[in-house]
């Protein structure tokens, strides 16, 4: 197992290196200049150039990249031009909201998708199955922002049960923390659950037809035991993949939902940083997101190996 983990971790290095080059170059290809944004309309060229020089933007690209990646390898992603803080600190500040939202949404999604998917598979062709088909169709087709607005109007504006937008850290108390996250969590979780439930259903159906399930049934095992002990474990790999994928996407920045609910997460940070051309934050953040994405995939891969020992033996 250790060799498997080491091999998987080492394979991440070239991916991250290529990603860093792409991130660095793409940003410099976008026109727009942080000095000009900061100084605004009417700033004269000399002042802009002075500020550019101070930010190090007048250096050759290769030199800028070398300095950036060299510092990044030592854990220093540079300082934000606008926020006057280290990029790591800025990312740290915005990580908790995104992570909390992603976890809550994932929990909601799994809580809906697993029982619903299993129920539909077990009752294949029945009304539960049709209800799932309708649910997934709605979940996939309704834009996330529309569902968000609907939830806000219903639960925040009309019923006044929950706040419209904002965020409270967990240090402000559990209820305070949760009340801001419930609506965005549901809004993201419902959409995610429709994707996961489909996979749960199809993966379940595939396993249900395997010979060992029939054998278990013919041995007279209880149906409950067959579903949860035999089928679920073997159907988990595609389900883990899709859960990992959705979680990775959420961490990568649910910019729309963060914007609608005014959650100061990584997605919102990225949007604001792009509009300000805050290069160091964009670079650090995209690198961080890429790193997180591959890390989530790594965890999913390792979980495969836990769920199905054949995988680690093959590798």
């Amino acid at each position: 197992m250790t060799a498997f983990i080491v091999k998987r971790v080492l394979s991440l290095i070239p991916i991250l290196f290529i990603m860093s080059v792409i991130v660095f170059l793409i940003i410099y290809l976008i026109p727009g200049d942080p000095a000009r944004v900061m100084l605004g309309d009417g700033a004269d060229e000399a002042t802009i150039q002075q500020l550019r020089a101070n930010m190090g933007l007048d250096q050759p690209l290769v030199l800028q990249y070398g300095q950036w990646i060299g510092s990044a390898l030592q854990g220093d992603l540079g300082d934000s031009y606008f926020l006057k803080k280290s990029v790591s600190a800025v990312i740290g500040e915005h990580l908790q909201p995104t992570l909390s939202l992603a976890l809550l949404a994932e929990l909601i999604a799994i809580a809906i998708a697993l029982p619903f998917g299993i129920w539909a598979a077990v009752n294949r062709g029945g009304w539960a199955d049709k209800a799932l088909a309708a649910y997934t169709l709605l979940g996939i087709t309704i834009p996330g922002f529309l569902l968000s607005m609907f939830l806000v109007l219903l639960f925040a504006v009309q019923l006044k049960w929950l706040p419209v937008s904002g965020y409270a850290p967990i240090s402000d108390g559990l209820w305070n923390f949760l009340k801001y996250l419930i609506l965005p969590g549901i809004s993201v979780g419902v959409v995610m659950s429709s994707v996961i439930a489909r996979i749960v259903r199809s993966s379940f159906l595939e396993v249900m037809n395997q010979g060992y399930v029939k054998t278990a049934r013919s041995k007279g095992l209880r149906e409950r035991s067959i579903v949860y002990k035999h089928i679920l474990r073997n159907a988990l790999i595609p389900i883990l993949t899709v859960i990992g994928g959705t979680f990775g996407t959420l961490l990568a920045g649910a910019a729309v939902v963060e914007s609608i609910f005014n959650i100061p997460g990584l997605g919102q940070l990225l949007v604001h940083s792009v509009s300000r051309r805050d290069y160091t934050v964009i670079q650090g953040l995209v690198l961080f997101i890429a790193f997180t994405y591959v890390l989530v995939n790594l965890v999913v891969d390792l979980l495969y190996a836990v769920v199905d020992p054949r995988i680690r033996l093959n590798k």
Binding site: R36, D41, G42, T47, L154, V157, V164, I260, N262, H272
Partner: protein, 535 residues
């Protein structure tokens, strides 16, 4: 199955009814006492022993590029800065400079030397008394840093005469000096000398002023928190615009960033915010609410700026052709969607700004004459060259205005294309004389001709000797009559030279809950000093 489908449809319709059905009545309390105007409420409020909220949240629609008042031209910066900082002067509602941190001033007979006498006993938020060295250091940094100040002050220096006197001399009279010192954009904020000395090119690191609120915290992209400054020294004069008496009536003031329009409005409906900007779409939801007052604010003026280094618009005839065809009513209607929210105005200044408002040359305004425009194009030798209209969709108004202008140009046979970028990219492109021809956009708080960006060579490249000479003459005139004559001459010539074409002034709607008392706006920037929230 049909049974479930029906149930589903009924459920969905029910939910929709709950959400949308009672929206216009839902937030309307039965109380009729709340129907008093803000002014009446304010008067009543001071008399009655009412309970006031200690915290107020104000929604900010735009991110804050920097909190340094000398550096930023953005309205979001000014919205915050006017509460932390004060200048030597401040505008009243007629855009007239009124002493704020200055006790008084003297102007030499030749109009070249300003002597500012400072108020004594005014304290900074760090407890230090404001002295002349702080004022001189702040204003010298401001005039070297702020784009708006550079053109007027670059050859002058604020000098300390004694602890409470600052002198500003120049070779020529500058009648815009006090207006520049009062402007809320690129705010001439006074801060302690040590803060100025410690500032790098990318701004100050501490936000210390003399205003009614002191800076407490900036939570990145979430909120800026200000707190009441207990030792604030108000001036002894009635509040008017940004001038006069200020009194912090809440302990904690939060400028909460809410960039999404729908979220901002929903937060207002849920009473998280007590005021909000209102689009026409949302207006019906609040205008019948007796608890809410709709305030119409003069927001900005709109201008069409030519790239006068471009292949076509470097030639006057092409600029005249555009001026001939423009139907500004249509453009303004395209921006705000209703005649209620715009007004025609041929002057580069607002009508409220009586000293500088002028109708000279206005016969060239709003001509709506496509035949004349076609004739001018023909005389200029137009040969189907494509022109580029530079714009952004980051705010709705730039793009809508550009679309309306595009339609009118195509009407006379000019080939056009629209170059849409995000705001940051658009700024960069506009600074480059290659690649664009026309830019249509809003210009915030014009107060004197010397502050009009498009009259100088760096913005749209108005490199014209006569324009520069007339601009100089309008700024150096001393008596009121001479100022008026010089300003009329400048505006008349600007309508001939057409560095830019004035389109008009627009308003916007703000919804304010009636328990938010005393909030006033000047050029869409709120003055939250003297604003209280009744619980």
């Amino acid at each position: 199955m049909k049974h479930y489908q029906k149930l589903g449809i009924i459920g969905l319709l029910g939910a929709l009814l709950i959400v949308f059905g009672c929206s216009s009545n839902s937030s309307a309390p039965a109380s009729s006492e709340g129907a008093a105007s803000p002014a009446e409420s304010a008067a009543a409020g001071t008399a009655a022993g009412e309970k006031l909220a200690t915290e107020l949240k104000y929604p900010l629609a735009q991110t804050i590029p920097t909190l340094d008042p000398h550096l930023s031209l953005g309205g979001s910066n000014s919205t915050i800065a006017v509460n932390i900082y004060e200048g030597l002067f401040a505008f009243n509602a007629k855009y007239e400079p009124v002493p704020m941190l200055a006790e008084s001033y003297e102007l030499s007979e030749d109009g070249k030397v300003y002597t500012f006498h400072l108020r004594k006993g005014v304290k900074f938020h760090n407890g230090k008394e404001m002295k002349a060295e702080d004022v001189a250091a702040s204003l010298n940094r401001w005039k070297n840093t702020a784009p708006r100040a550079k053109s007027s002050f670059s050859d002058r220096e604020f000098e300390v005469k004694d602890d409470y006197t600052v002198v500003l001399s120049s070779d020529v009279p500058r009648n815009d000096t006090l207006a520049q010192l009062s402007h809320v954009l690129n705010f001439a904020a006074i801060m302690p000398k040590e803060v100025v000395d410690a500032a790098g090119p990318d701004g100050v690191t501490e936000y210390i002023g003399t205003g009614p609120f002191k800076f407490a915290e900036y939570k990145t992209d979430q909120y800026v928190h200000l707190q009441k400054f207990a030792d604030y020294q108000p001036v002894d004069a009635p509040a008017d615009g940004f001038s006069g008496k200020k009194e912090a009536l809440v302990n904690d003031l939060y400028f909460t960033l809410a960039t999404d329009n729908a979220t901002r409005f929903s937060s207002f409906l849920a009473k998280d915010f007590n005021n909000v900007d209102v689009s026409l779409d949302n207006l019906p939801q609040v205008e019948s609410d007796p608890d809410v007052e709709i305030i119409k604010n003069l927001s900005t003026d709109f201008n069409l700026v030519f790239n006068k280094k471009g292949p076509l618009f470097s030639q006057l005839k092409y600029r005249q052709a555009v001026a001939s065809v423009l139907d500004v009513d249509q453009v303004l209607l395209g921006i705000v969607s209703t005649p209620e929210l715009y007004r025609l105005n041929p002057s580069y200044m607002y009508k409220e700004n009586a000293k500088w408002y002028s109708e000279a040359g206005s016969e060239a305004y709003n001509q709506k004459n496509p035949d004349k425009a076609k004739q001018l194009l023909q005389e200029a030798g137009y040969n189907g060259e494509e022109i580029t209209l530079l714009t952004t969709k980051d705010t709705g108004t730039f793009y809508n205005a550009t679309l309306m202008v595009q339609a009118q140009l195509e009407q006379i046979g000019i080939k056009t294309k629209i170059d849409i970028s995000d705001y940051a990219t658009m700024l960069t492109k506009r600074a480059d004389p290659n690649g664009w021809d026309i830019y249509v956009g809003p210009f915030l708080v014009p107060s004197t001709p010397s502050q009009l960006l498009y009259l100088n060579p760096t913005y749209g490249f108005a490199d014209d000797a006569k324009l520069a000479e007339l601009l100089e003459a309008s700024t150096s005139a001393i008596s009121d009559d001479a100022i008026k004559a010089a300003n009329d001459a400048l505006q008349a010539y600007e309508w001939e030279y057409l560095a830019a074409i004035k389109i008009g002034d627009i308003y916007n709607y703000n919804a304010v809950r009636k328990n938010l008392v005393g909030l006033t706006y000047l050029s869409n920037i709120p003055n939250l000093a003297n604003t209280k929230l009744v619980e």
